[in-house]
Symmetry: D2
């Protein structure tokens, strides 16, 4: 049993989930015949972008409000390799949090459903002065309310 990446919060709604499928490219495979470990930030991003877009909290949604959400922390656990010809099934899981931050977990599976890679990223909200936001932007607060109300 994997240890959870994020501490649970009492009364939190269920995490949001979205999956993106991506075929391994030849150029992503290293001389050992496996996807090079440094490609996975791009795989994680595909999952994150998919979930963000589905829920109205994508990069362009943030940018419209002059908010950026840069990555402050990233972690990866490599369990099994991915090979040329494989399809990566990238599941992004957004965990509930009431602060100005995004806690994403990722689970990548191969075509037979085996977990190949897990990890997480943490993003913090930055305003147009490059300062950490202490409060939540309106569009994001609305998103949290819809999430809590089970309307996503």
């Amino acid at each position: 049993m994997r240890k959870p990446y994020f501490k649970g919060i009492d009364g939190a709604p269920e995490p949001l989930r979205a999956t993106f499928k991506r075929k391994v490219r030849f150029e992503e495979v290293d001389p050992l015949g496996i996807v090079w470990h440094g490609r996975y930030p791009s795989y994680f991003e595909d999952g994150r972008v998919t979930l963000g877009h589905l829920n109205g909290i994508g990069y362009l949604d943030f940018r419209e409000q002059n908010v950026a959400a840069p990555i402050k922390q990233m972690h990866m656990d490599y369990i099994k390799p991915l090979y040329y010809g494989d399809t990566a099934h990238i599941e992004a899981i957004l965990h509930w949090n009431e602060a100005a931050r995004l806690n994403y977990e990722f689970i990548i599976r191969n075509d037979t459903g085996e977990i190949t890679t897990t990890g997480y990223t943490v993003q913090l909200f930055i305003d147009s002065n490059q300062e950490l936001m202490m409060f939540l932007p309106d569009f994001y607060m609305n998103f949290l309310q819809r999430w809590k109300a089970g309307k996503l």
Copy 2:
């Protein structure tokens, strides 16, 4: 004060250190004008390769002995951005460990010496049957002896 990434070991020799300088490339910078977070595995690798090469434990040294040392875990903390025109000073720090694993810490600084990024990678030794090695290969045991004897 940063919390250490690896637990200290009693009686361990001092970590090994090596630094690689790398100028930020235009292609590494994202639409926000900063090095995209997913480029840092490549930066870390430059540090790791430099230290490995200096000490006879590089990729080619391992390959010659039919040993691979794939990355099992990677972690990154993003503290400040790097910009186009910056030079990243990538310090790799190898921490003492007597198991068949490599515990690397990384500290990236900008031209004014500010820490921009820290992180670590963990590698485990795999033999030619893709099995985790339980013992240390000879060339690596020699490397540990020279390290302990202060001869590196």
Copy 3:
């Protein structure tokens, strides 16, 4: 009217065509807000892989016969930029040729059908001794026969 990249051959069958759709990734966009010119080899490859896979002449089909088909020439004409959020519609067009070579043309269009990028690649067949093949491997000759017979 664009000048053709490859000279027509009398009596040649129609070119083969396949299209792959690819959403522009954040990491592919440069500080000027457009897809960096050096990403397009990957876009072309997505088109080439799609056509090759559909017709039994993909990388794995070649590898099974101990034949490699490395790129010997690549050319790109950049007409309009692609932006974050765009989908690239990558059309690969394989032109008839009876030698041990692959002449691929590429046309990338944006969501409104405008041509953004065109180009070509030339690949030559190499045997397991790294020598240029003077004759066609059987599986490839069969492929040419089916193409000529209109059975693809």
Copy 4:
């Protein structure tokens, strides 16, 4: 004897030349054990950036004048592969031209001086309205004068 990529101009001063050395990275090598063909735009860029920086016509010099110089055409001829452990010696050669364009040729050699790759890029000057510039910006005209006068 290679056919020249650019037509000579009567009375033109000698081309400008600069070389950048770059060690092949593990991540750049494909499953066939050679640098993947699509990495070369980055190699060319290292040569171009080196020459531009030396002569005051780098990306930042253009940006300061609100001029961009996007790549309109790129061409590559792959002659020999580069391998892990190799150093690429990337020579950028700027050919004289009095229009608002940059004609760069590239020659990459390996450690034994063999030519592995050649190619070229063409850049056109764009003003802040994204229009092609019909005239030369002052700083660039000065650069041409110094070049013609042999003062570079």
